[in-house]
């Protein structure tokens, strides 16, 4: 059923534009910092086997589900997740599923924009020569911890405007200026420039890494080939086998988690982005292309730059110390590498500019779901929707900045929203697609206007394998991590405050969705009444 009243709808300007916007949403810091450290830690080349299996079994299938559900809702006049799920599942209250797809991107934006500000700040520091601390990684760790106020809460918000807050304001303003311009003129135009620029910069840095050779004759073993080998050779224990390495469930858990978070499935962003497509726009090839672009940035660019470069200059130990930590690899270890490189400041600037661009294309996508919801749920104009969302996210970001001790607020929000809720929404989405909508109806909808067919095997993958695989990973993930985070809530007042803040945000969006659905119900009842009376 079409909606009861009409408003002027936004739309994408081009097929390439929407692909780059979705790819931009997925490509982020994890591609260049988290993936290489994780791969090096969990078996090198052996890690790629569960990684590629996870892409096939959960990454690409869930992407197709989200693209399909999003376009389905968009054709019926909805661009926000509550409206989309309400249109998709004709059961009273189904729109509440969409609350998750509002909370997730908005809350992640609150802390992600702060990390984005660090990247811009570091790019600026390299450009102005302000980050020249020698070759000791501990100096860079100390600088970073002072910069973001890791030692005490409220450090960066007291005593005048601190640099971290100034850069946060700049980045915040940039994001909202772009989002205010709209979907096509703001997000699409920016991503169409930023994504090719990001890949070009990555190629420049990659070319430098691949021509490093053996920079220090005192350490002949620290050379390019050994650096690539450290990252990519399967790490099989002496006397062990590849099958023995793959029998470790931890490697599967880590690989699936990386694929899952890297492709940005379960964010609610793809649902909204795809809702701006037209009924017969292709989604199968477009979804695959966006996912493949993300994988290219992660495996080829991320996998060949950071860890091999760190190995060549520092050897394996510093990498193993920070493996799996994006902050450790990005802000402690890599700045040391730029000290060793000729014209290292230029490469430092390029590297952090690359990270900044990757972060902006992601953070922009996190704002659009809530903007779309405020516009269509309350019939607000762009200016009003942007203002309200700006106030909400600014409050959250200041909360994250204030509770900076050990980055507690950031860490707690990232765990409960950036990981637990994402798992939940992705699982719900794939179950709705495969079981509630029905796999036949779902795939028929996906194939409307498609430029390629989804292989038949994915019928079974989406319906059976995906939910089981996701739930298994989710259970393993919670088993490993939840006790520590629950204990943190009980023991640390800042963690307790963060969870309470999260509850307030959830209630705010829950009530907003209830009011929006009441308005949609009233609008549709009015339309039916007018039709009945001629």
């Amino acid at each position: 059923m079409k909606r009861g009243y009409a408003r002027r709808r936004e739309g994408w300007g081009s097929r390439l534009g929407v692909i780059l916007a979705v790819a931009g949403s997925a490509v982020g810091l994890g591609n260049f910092l988290r993936f290489p450290g994780l791969a090096a830690e969990y078996g090198g080349g052996a890690f790629m086997i569960p990684y590629f299996v996870s892409i096939l079994l959960i990454g690409i299938p869930i992407c197709w589900c989200e693209w399909t559900i999003g376009r389905y809702g968009g054709v019926r006049g909805y661009n926000s997740a509550p409206g989309i799920f309400r249109a998709l599942v004709p059961v009273r209250g189904s729109g509440y599923i969409g609350v998750l797809a509002l909370i997730i991107p908005v809350v992640i934006y609150m802390y992600y924009v702060y990390v984005e500000a660090w990247c811009l700040a570091y790019a600026w520091f390299y450009l102005t020569g302000a980050l020249d601390l020698g070759r000791d990684p501990t100096q860079y760790a100390a600088f970073f911890e002072s910069f973001v106020g890791v030692h005490a809460d409220g450090v960066t918000t007291s005593g005048g405007l601190q640099p971290a807050v100034i850069f946060l304001i700049v980045v915040f303003a940039l994001n909202f200026a772009l989002i205010y311009r709209g979907l096509s003129a703001g997000i699409e135009r920016f991503c169409t420039i930023a994504m090719p620029a990001l890949i070009l910069i990555a190629f420049v840095v990659l070319a430098r890494v691949l021509t490093l050779g053996t920079p220090d004759p005192a350490f002949p073993e620290r050379n390019l080939l050994n650096g690539l080998g450290f990252m990519w050779n399967p790490k099989i224990p002496e006397g062990g086998t590849l099958l023995g390495v793959l029998a470790n469930p931890e490697i599967w858990l880590q690989a699936a988690g990386q694929v899952f978070f890297s492709l940005s499935v379960g964010f609610g962003v793809v649902l909204t982005y795809a809702s701006y497509l037209r009924e017969r726009d292709d989604i199968v090839l477009s979804g695959l292309t966006a996912s493949a672009t993300n994988e290219f940035c992660e495996v080829v660019l991320g996998g060949l730059i950071t860890v091999p470069a760190a190995f060549i200059f520092l050897g394996p130990d510093p990498i193993q110390q920070v493996a799996g930590s994006s902050i450790g690899l990005g802000f402690y270890t890599l700045p040391v590498i730029f000290e060793y490189l000729p014209v290292g400041a230029l490469f430092g600037f390029l590297w952090f500019l690359l990270l900044f661009l990757a972060a902006v294309t992601s953070s922009l996508s996190m704002l659009q779901p809530a903007i779309a919801f405020l516009e269509e749920g309350f019939d607000l104009g762009r200016r009003a929707a942007v203002t309200i969302l700006g106030l909400v996210t600014a409050t959250g970001s200041l909360f994250v900045v204030y509770f900076s001790k050990d980055l507690t607020a950031l860490d707690v929000l990232d765990f409960w929203v950036g990981q637990v809720l994402i798992f939940t929404l992705a699982t719900v989405t794939v179950i709705v697609f495969g079981w509630v909508v029905g796999i036949d109806r779902g795939l028929a909808e996906a194939h409307r206007g498609a430029e390629m067919r989804i292989p038949r095997v994915f019928r079974y993958v989406i319906k059976y394998v995906c939910p089981v695989y996701l739930l298994t990973i989710f259970a393993g993930f919670l088993y490993r991590n939840a006790p520590a985070y629950l204990a943190k809530i009980a023991e640390q007042p800042s963690a307790t405050a963060t969870v309470l803040f999260l509850a307030v945000v959830a209630i705010f969006f829950g009530l907003a969705v209830r009011e929006a659905m009441r308005r949609w119900d009233a609008a549709e009842a009015g339309t039916r009444s007018r039709r009945a009376h001629g």
């Binding site: 709808r9 006049g77 726009d281 996998g303 007018r530």
Partner: protein, 41 residues
């Protein structure tokens, strides 16, 4: 490394080759749904 990077590069190249050779979509014809009528239910 060669297999992983080669597979991903081949996939992304194939996808963009398919996308870029598709004809441009026809300009959108605005149906009544897309026009702001200011009509309230």
């Amino acid at each position: 490394m060669i297999v992983s990077c080669g597979t991903v590069t081949a996939l992304v190249a194939w996808c963009f080759w398919r996308v870029l050779r598709l004809p441009s979509p026809r300009p959108e014809l605005h149906a009544p749904l897309d026009i702001e009528t200011r009509e309230k239910p």
